[in-house]
Amino acid sequence: MALFTCRDLSFAYEGNTVVAGLNFSVQRGDYLCVVGENGSGKSTLIKGLLGLKQPQGGEITRGENLKSHEIGYLPQQTAAQKDFPASAYEVVLSGRLGMRGLRPFYSGADKAAAAEIMERLDISLLAGCCYRDLSGGQQQRVLLARALCAAAVGSGSGHGLRALLLDEPVTGLDPIVTYDLYQQLSRVNEEAGLGIVMISHDVRSAVLYASHILHLDGGQAFFGSAADYAASETGARFLGR
């Protein structure tokens, strides 16, 4: 059973279909990159997988008993407003909330996991800083830490992160941080068997790091392994070869 299986999936805003005919699945340990032009419905698809947007037609099934609190998410733009007073640490720690269930307060393990992931993403020094005062790339890393926070060890009662959905995580990051991020993602993908779905405009890296590629152009232009994509006509055109 796959983590996500989509059959004849389509999405629409106010009756206007933006993407249709999606048939693909994300297995445990898959690393799927979603590529396509702006406005091709990539973010919409991610919101659909998260249950934030109802499909127009078709269906999404979650397999392997995947629960919402086992999903990490990096939004393209946060709904949080510009003037929100919150420290980076508070934001990262809130990534552990879903797995706490009804228990009201964070445990020592939660706090340790938040500190550890901030260390790994090199944002420990920003912990006390106000989220709104950070640069775009720093904010992006804080949100990434929030998403990854639930994947850290010691998450309690055997529940960790099992799927990670990222909407353009590398946009706005400098090359070093981008490289680091790809390494981190590959690591959690391989070590923890995390299913990753990532939207990216960086098609070259996508082909390099991902196991599968989904190319959207109003429909499903390509779905298959990254190697097949690079060899395909769609892939060759998009890679600019």
Binding site: L52, Y73, A79, P85, A86, E90, S94, L97, G98, P104
Partner: protein, 278 residues
Amino acid sequence: MPNIQNVLTEMLSYPFLVRALTVGLLVSLCAALLGVSLVLKRYSMIGDGLSHVGFGTLAVATALNAAPLAVSIPVVVLAAFLLLRISENSRIKGDAAIALISTSALAVGVLVISLTTGMNTDVCNYMFGSILAMSKGDVRLSVALSVVVLLLFILFYNKIFAVTFDENYARATGTKSGLYNMLIAFLTAITIVLGMRMMGAMLISSLVIFPALTAMRVCKRFKSVTLCAAVVSVLCFFAGVVISYLCATPTGASVVIVNIAAFLLFWLAGALRTVRPA
């Protein structure tokens, strides 16, 4: 210049003032805590709308000779859920709908009053508050409810933060954000009804909005904003009551004036800090 200690001893010798202070301090604490979330979620208007609905129900309750709190609380809680639904639904212009509901409730209240008692001091007290409004039974109910509001807020603090900061993320990762939005609306409704008769229907929403805005001038973390708002709110309320006692000014208005002063002070402090960072 009267000795502050004498003034306080004198004030505390009046049972009605002790009752008013007890309820007022608890309500200002609750209002400030909830206010942080309401202001950040752009729900400030809900507080204002609810107080007008509260005014309408108080008027109707008086006309029916019913217990004012017992009637107002359920009606205002229902109104809170309705207002929440309206502001979540992007198809309807949320602010316009809230204005519609609050003016409608106000109109009903005024109509009922003019058909029954007429415009008398009671009505003026509904609008602008009276320190004499609290009976012993009211105090017991108010204290019990404020304690419930405080406990629920503390228990759900982390969820309230998550839902306030990024509702989509919270929802996507398994937090029932709809439920917590309703919790916030529910707690706000109770707080507003409890504080309304002392502060006045026209002024109670300031208790929700001012402390949060004041704290946000200088604090940069959610926790410190929340704590700072709570402290500012309680201090401002206390100072407001003392001033109203000394100068014989209306309590509600005095508390609001002190809140304005605190806001200006914090705004200045915040502005100075950005000009010359520490």
